[in-house]
């Protein structure tokens, strides 16, 4: 419904929604299906084992106004296999995404790329005469920034995990 538009154009805010589900064969497709069926956006989605066997944690980043986000949350709650839905947006939370970025690298550009890798505290995990593969971890914004900087060298391939996130715990009186 808002595909291809920036948050500035839609006035929609980014939300990070954490969903704990029963790890059943149908749970993920039901969740993805409700987003497409009701016209909600998925910016990123990650799915992995939860805190105990039989549970899975799905982290979805999406955009919408308050009413859309409320509907997303309520519709997720209705899925029988969903145990908990948590919109992390309005409270402190930690968020990480991992990206593997394969860039063109010649002898001439290699050291410049390596400097950039250091700035982003990223890692080089594969090297060939013409390429470097870089692992970047951080918030979606940081990964976006790193990818943006690397673009000028020529990105050959990219694989991003999408965000994973958890609520931050109480850190004492401030």
């Amino acid at each position: 419904m808002t595909q291809g538009k920036t948050p500035e154009q839609t006035g929609f805010m980014k939300h990070t929604i954490s969903v704990l589900v029963k790890h059943s064969f149908n749970a993920l497709s039901r969740i993805v299906g409700l987003f497409s069926g009701r016209g909600f956006d998925i910016d990123s989605i990650s799915f992995g084992q939860g805190q105990e066997p039989g549970l899975a944690r799905i982290t979805i980043t999406t955009r919408g106004d308050e009413q859309i986000i409320e509907q997303i949350s309520k519709q997720l709650h209705k899925v029988v296999d969903v145990l908990k839905v948590h919109d992390l947006t309005y409270e402190p939370f930690v968020e990480r995404e991992l990206a593997l970025v394969k860039v063109s690298a010649t002898k001439a550009t290699r050291s410049e790329i390596m400097q950039l890798v250091n700035v982003f505290r990223a890692k080089i995990i594969d090297i060939s005469p013409e390429t470097l593969t870089i692992e970047v971890t951080g918030s979606q914004d940081k990964v976006d920034a790193a990818v943006g900087m690397l673009r000028s060298f020529g990105i050959i391939d990219i694989a991003r995990t999408g965000s994973v996130a958890l609520k931050r715990e109480f850190q004492g009186e401030t």
Binding site: N26, G33, Q67, V80
Partner: protein
């Protein structure tokens, strides 16, 4: 059946089990299925056999106590199970084979899903080892029906079968009800497993809230008690929750007017002075005006559907809104609500009634009564032509307003909703959300099988009836005494009405009269009774004759005014108070 009897029966079954008549692993999947269904008090299945479910059919052969109705098309099966569920208040049960058997159920499942009707559909599936191989009669029915089911199960271990069935029935019939699909691979049906008889169901992610929040109810009571122009807007949720009596008690204590949606008809007796009839696109003038003018709106089990609200910015613009619903996602979905109350109407309404003070509504009623007098529903009079509105009134007279009325979809559906006086819950069955043509007749058949003591009328059109008319064979075979009133105007009436009003009378593909069958001969060819009615003076005698036929279906072909329009009408995109009165 009285609840006590059910209880005793269930206990007896439990005892039988603990006597150890069925040891672990001694029953086939098919036997577990039948045993569990009987334990869940299922008395009727609507089904159609095929390769993947032959094992189940063989077991059914041994269990005549579980009545199986052989429908003639799986769509008819889901509609019949839907009608059974709406009339009886118990989940409808469907059994079909894999592949096309499953895909044919889709329209019926979607119909039930839109109207929150409890239903459990068992589909055969190819053997588990074959799934994904494009095997003969294989379809990913779980995938196909995912967006139109409340939940679904693929049984991968015969020892999970019983639990899956029990969960399916629990999910289908609690909270906001809906259809649940259970996919049964062929090998699950044939292999042996355990039947435990354990009735408790615990589903960690599924705990519908049924008790309303006390302070929210108190807040609603305060706002309503001070209202000058309050209105209750009751939807299908009132019927699903069996809360008609509770709603009536609230309206009678407070004298607040009540309007119902199409789905809510019968949820409040239309014979009561507080009734304003149906609202919405073809609602009464006064109900729509009351909605526009009210200062406090209490919505109960309704979902602010676009056919009810009209253009949203003109919908009840000055009211404070309270909404009772068991499904939180219905609240503030289309219309922002000030006081949401999540809970079961049957429990919330009495609490609200108790906390309410009677508001001063005398002035409001003066206005409403004037509106009712000045803008009644119109019934054309004629000695030559049968007018559909008058025909509905006559059906109302001949059944004393006591029948279960089942509508198909179109003009006749709206005329039925407007002109029959509904005084009892579960007496108006209609595909409200999905608007499924072809729903009426098979649903009526299901209702009649579920409620054999009540008269069941199907009001349908010449278009809609032809979509599922072949179920006449089922009705004749099972001696189902459904009275089918075809309002035969020779058109797809509602389509023609829109083409007349909005497409300058270009009747593109909505004309049926050159190609309609002879409905009387059609009925007779199935062994049913058929009558053709051409003039107003034949109407009552024919209806009376039909009422006396109790051993099978009667098809009445009423040749009605061909180009009659259904009014009032809120045109698409207009606000509720911008009705066309005709």
């Amino acid at each position: 059946m009285a609840p006590e009897t059910t209880e005793v029966k269930q206990r007896q079954k439990a005892t039988t089990h603990s006597n150890g008549q069925s040891g672990p692993g001694s029953l086939t999947g098919a036997e577990i299925l039948v045993k569990t269904l009987l334990d869940l008090d299922v008395d009727t299945i609507f089904g159609y056999p095929g390769g993947a479910v032959l094992g189940i059919y063989d077991t059914l052969f041994q269990h005549p106590e579980l009545k199986h109705i052989l429908i003639r098309h799986e769509q008819g099966g889901t509609h019949a199970a839907d009608g059974y569920a709406r009339a009886k208040g118990k989940p409808g049960v469907v059994l079909v084979t894999s592949g096309p058997g499953g895909t044919n159920t889709v329209t019926g499942i979607a119909t039930a899903n839109m109207d929150s009707i409890p239903m459990v559909v068992f589909t055969g599936q190819v053997a588990s080892g074959m799934i994904g191989n494009d095997a003969f009669q294989e379809a990913d029915i779980i995938g196909i029906t995912r967006p139109i089911t409340k939940h679904s199960y693929l049984v991968k271990d015969v020892n999970d079968l019983e639990e899956s069935i029990r969960e399916a029935f629990h999910i289908a019939s609690t909270g906001r009800p809906g259809p649940v699909l259970v996919d049964l691979p062929k090998d699950m049906v044939m292999s042996k497993g355990v039947y435990t008889g354990k009735r408790e169901v615990s589903i960690p992610g599924y705990k519908p809230v049924i008790r309303g929040h006390n302070s929210q109810i108190a807040k609603a009571a305060e706002i309503l008690s001070k209202a000058k122009r309050p209105l209750i807007y009751a939807g299908g949720g009132v019927l699903l929750s069996d809360a008609a009596a509770e709603l009536t008690a609230l309206a009678e204590k407070t004298n607040i007017p009540v309007t119902t949606t199409l789905m809510g008809l019968g949820g409040f007796p239309e014979g009561k002075p507080q009734s304003l009839g149906m609202l919405g696109m073809h609602g009464t003038w006064y109900a729509n005006m009351a909605m526009t003018e009210c200062d406090v709106l209490l919505a109960v089990g309704a979902r602010f559907d676009d056919r009810v609200t009209g253009r949203l910015d003109g919908f009840s613009p000055n009211s404070r809104k309270i909404h009772i619903d068991i499904d939180p996602s219905c609240i503030s979905k289309n219309v922002e609500v000030e006081v949401p109350i999540v809970g079961d109407a049957k429990l919330v309404l009495p609490e609200l009634t108790q906390m309410m003070k009677k508001p001063s509504v005398d002035q409001w009623w003066k206005t409403l009564i004037t509106w009712k007098k000045e803008h009644p529903l119109k019934v054309p009079e004629s000695n030559e032509v049968i007018y559909p509105q008058r025909l509905i009134e006559q059906i109302s007279e001949v059944t004393h307003g006591e029948a279960i009325m089942v509508a198909d979809v179109g003009q006749h559906q709206m005329w039925l909703a407007q002109h029959y006086q509904f005084n009892h819950p579960r007496s108006m069955l209609s595909s409200g959300g999905l608007g499924t043509m072809g729903y009426g007749f098979p649903a009526a058949m299901g209702a009649a099988l579920g409620c054999p003591d009540r008269t069941v009328f199907c009001v349908t059109g010449d278009g809609g009836f032809q979509m599922t008319a072949f179920e006449l064979a089922t009705a004749v075979e099972n001696k189902v005494p459904v009275k089918i009133a075809i309002m035969n105007n020779g058109y797809l009436g509602m389509v023609r009405q829109w083409q007349e009003l909005f497409f300058e009378k270009r009747y593109s593909h909505s004309v049926l009269h050159q190609s309609n069958p002879d409905f009387v001969k059609l009925a007779e060819s199935y062994g049913a009774t058929g009558f053709r009615v051409k003039t107003p003076d034949e109407v009552m005698p024919t209806l009376k004759k039909a009422m006396e036929i109790n051993n099978g279906p009667v098809v009445m072909d009423f040749l009605v005014a061909p180009e009659e329009n259904c009014y009032p009408m809120v045109p698409a995109g207009a606000a509720l108070n911008e009705m066309v009165e005709g």
